[in-house]
């Protein structure tokens, strides 16, 4: 059963770049979480390394299952993701007024991190089957839209504004990729423009103030703007070569909020400067471009769709997160793949890498 071509098509560059990024992330966490080192709990970086092992395990499981099989079960997969989201909404662990976490034994995880992957599988599955080459009329449109809305609403309610926005952005990316008729894209944009102000009604106060803080940093800049300002100071003060490992005053004195999760990049940029941040961005670019290449060279439309969708997850997360910490984007809670602390995030990132390699390895199998 085992095919040697699987090994020969294994993309070592993608794998090693991902591994290097994960290790960089853990090293960065050693610094970002150093304020809690004297605590009795396991330090962040160590936990992150455990998560990495778990992620690698999942990675190997995923590459050994043909993605066509996975896509066939995508309704079941995404259905269970939605179920877990519902579970988290009603029985989840409440932290700071949100219900993003599900507790299983000693571990807690965010179902939304896995929902976005199964969401991509589902969209790819239905689009690749029903999208006609000339997409002027489409039969396959209502179902994906329905699933997008359900997923979006569930994630939005948790409330996880960042991931909810990501779901929409992924959907838009898909529409772009499937080359729908311009008229339909226009229609979709129009409905978004109408829907966006409505969603304002559902935003929590802290989310509104973050948006305000972004739009007018001088005015409502207290707590929401504080994060953005401190992050910019941290990054800017890194200059060309940074302040050195464990030398970041912004992070070590704990001016940075959420410095081990959403703002992990600021810590790295402060301590390693422009040189370090460019290295990191290059590695991330490498992963994204490798993924795009896999999308363009896969053996079937399904593979193209899946890999494109997964790469768009990575790409949007990277650009939104870095855009937010450098002050180009409002602060929404989106982790930086590989770098931010968080088991669910790291494991799901490795699941994405696994899926990409899965498709790449089977590109010459007919």
């Amino acid at each position: 059963m085992f095919d040697r071509r699987l090994i020969s098509n294994f993309d070592w560059t993608l794998f090693l770049a991902s591994l290097l990024l994960s290790i960089l992330g853990a090293v960065n966490l050693y610094s970002a979480g150093s304020f809690s080192l004297h605590n009795s709990t396991t330090p962040f970086y160590l936990k992150q390394l455990y998560w990495l092992l778990a992620g690698l395990f999942l990675f190997f499981v995923i590459i050994s299952i043909d993605y066509q099989l996975l896509a066939r079960y995508s309704y079941l997969l995404h259905g269970s993701s939605l179920f877990l989201l519902l579970l988290a909404l009603f029985w989840g662990k409440t932290t700071a007024g949100t219900h993003r976490w599900l507790q299983v034994g000693a571990f807690s995880f965010q179902p939304s991190e896995f929902a976005k992957i199964s969401f991509v599988l589902l969209l790819s599955h239905s689009f690749s089957r029903s999208t006609p080459p000339r997409a002027s009329q489409f039969q396959g449109f209502p179902l994906p839209i329905l699933f997008t809305l359900i997923t979006f609403v569930l994630v939005f309610l948790e409330p996880d504004l960042g991931t909810a926005a990501l779901i929409l952005v992924i959907f838009v990316s898909f529409i772009f990729f499937a080359k729908f008729d311009l008229r339909h894209i226009f229609l979709f944009m129009l409905s978004c423009v109408i829907l966006l102000p409505c969603s304002w009604l559902f935003l929590e106060d802290y989310q509104k103030s973050r948006l305000f803080a972004f739009l007018s940093p001088g005015k409502n800049s207290l707590h929401a703007g504080y994060q953005a300002v401190q992050s910019k100071i941290a990054i800017g003060s890194g200059m060309l070569f940074g302040k050195g490992f464990l030398g970041g005053t912004q992070s070590q004195l704990r001016f940075l909020p959420e410095q081990h999760t959403d703002f992990a990049f600021s810590v790295l940029a402060e301590e390693w400067g422009l040189a370090g941040s460019l290295l990191l961005i290059s590695l991330l670019f490498l992963v994204v471009s490798k993924g795009l290449k896999i999308a363009s060279q896969s053996r079937d439309v399904l593979g193209s769709f899946i890999s494109f969708g997964l790469v768009s997850i990575l790409f949007w997360q990277i650009s939104i997160n870095i855009g937010m910490v450098v002050g180009l984007f409002p602060i929404v809670g989106i982790p930086l793949p590989f770098i931010s602390y968080g088991g669910s995030s790291l494991i799901s990132t490795w699941a994405i890498v696994g899926m990409l390699l899965n498709i790449r390895m089977r590109r010459f199998m007919f």
Binding site: F177, I233, G236, R254, A269, L284, S296, V301, V326
Partner: protein, 608 residues
Amino acid sequence: MRSELDSLYDKKLQSRTSVAYFVVVFVFGILCLRLWFLQIVEGNNYRKLSENNRIRIQEIPAPRGLILDSAGRVLAGNRPSFDICLVPQHTYNPEDVLKRLAKLLGCDLSRLKQRFEGSRGRPPFESITLKSDVSRDTLAFVLTHRLDLPGIVVESTPARHYPFGTLACHLLGHMGEIDPRELARPDFALYKMGDFVGKSGVERAFELHLKGTDGGYQSEVNAVGYKINIMGQVDPVPAHNVVLTISADLQKTAEEALGNSVGSIVAVDPKSGRILAMASSPAFDPNAFSCGISPQGWEEIVNNPEHPLMNRCIQSAYPPGSTYKLVTAAAALEEELVEKDTEFFCAGSFRCGNRSYRCWKKHGHGKVALLKGVVESCDVYFYNLGTMLGPDLLAKCAKGFGFGLTTGIGIRNEKAGLIPTSGWYQGRYGIPWQAGESLSVAIGQGANQVTPLQLVMAYAAIANGGILYRPFHVDRIVSVDGKILKTFSPAVRGKLPVSKNNMSFLVGCLSGVVNSPAGTGRAARLSNVEVAGKTGTAQVVGVASGGVPPLADRFLDHAWFVAFAPKDDARVAVVVLVEHGGHGGSTAAPIAKTIISRFFDIAGGGNV
């Protein structure tokens, strides 16, 4: 094989991926440019910001709303409290600084250290309050020595201030540090540990109006903590002011009239239920709580056997004594058991079963009709009514007067009192109602319990022609710029179960109590207004027939007097209760007189 669909689609997907590739390059390029701008172009500035300077968030607390009396005098306001704080980041040797500070302030080093240690784990740029609300002298002293005290700063925070001290303390309430239970409440979501919140009275009930929204500013400070640049500011949203119905003048008169004796006074407007004064003695000074009460101060209040925190007007119930005879009379008239001129003979005692029940007048009142019975407060007359009525008819009428139920004034822990019925008695003692009990309850003794507020509201209803109002002590809530946000208007609880005819007869009886030569309440008589009222002397311990009343103070009877004036168009109703004050006529009536006369001094026009 690639399917036909796949190959048709292939080219399109290829072109889309290359578009996507350009998007990726473009976005990553923007990110790199931005990083170059932040780290290279602006790098030096940000480096400086991070090294010498720190961005701080400093809160600007919203001043708490004022509590005003009906004439607009400030009963609860704010004053600055100066706190001495330490910013750990700006100090080199905290141990040394604390030692020096302790020496300067002359206070205990260990307590300062305790405060300091308690804040471990917080960011080093956050100040730790070492000593709050220091005197101006201490403040000047510390400020002149600040060069020896690196890291020590003085912060000013508003503290609650009650300019009249103990005046109306029970109504106003007091402040205290928020406790974890309150923090968990959803409507307290904007509060944080260490905030002060209202713990009782209006301060508590109107907390969410009185508390504004804190503002703050982001400032840039230099290495020793001085502000050099304010980067952004959010102004605090001021709180609302609460205007009470009470008059500080009348309140003061009431509190002074009570003096050192333990008791309470409530004055209301009979035509609306507005509280004009509400005094409970002993009082406490709410200022002592404003910056957190000292352990000794707290000990003193808690261990005081008279419970100064208790508002006796509503949180304490007593037997109403003879003031209750009005209810008995009304019940008997309404049930048509007696006529106004039905007479009974009082020989000084009344036999029931094998026991003899005394009248307060040892030698008896002779022939007594209803008017004389009320005016001279003849117990035997009402023993007769009680026997005829039984407990349940009387209780029914008493409920109609608002007894046995809370008045709904909206202050926590209001007592409902107790009006015994035969059913209650059976449940409580396991035996049927005893005939002798009917005698006790008819004169307001036995198991009867009423609060002073209930009593004055019942008499106010008699005075206004039978409308039982719900009392209220907050008139309106006003925004800082004078806009009225909410007005509290009178609310009717019910109508007295008494006919117009009987009501005016009863009012005449009450006037007789004060104005006729034999009346028990003559001490409340005023020359310019016709006062109507009723005395009451509530027994604390039963006195056996013919026995000598015990002399110790704590066994003395409670003295009641409840009145309204002017008789026919009443503008004020007052109740006075003096615990262990002895006779209502001699102890409580003169106090009521003082208050009524003061009311007309303020309001003007006696001869209405």
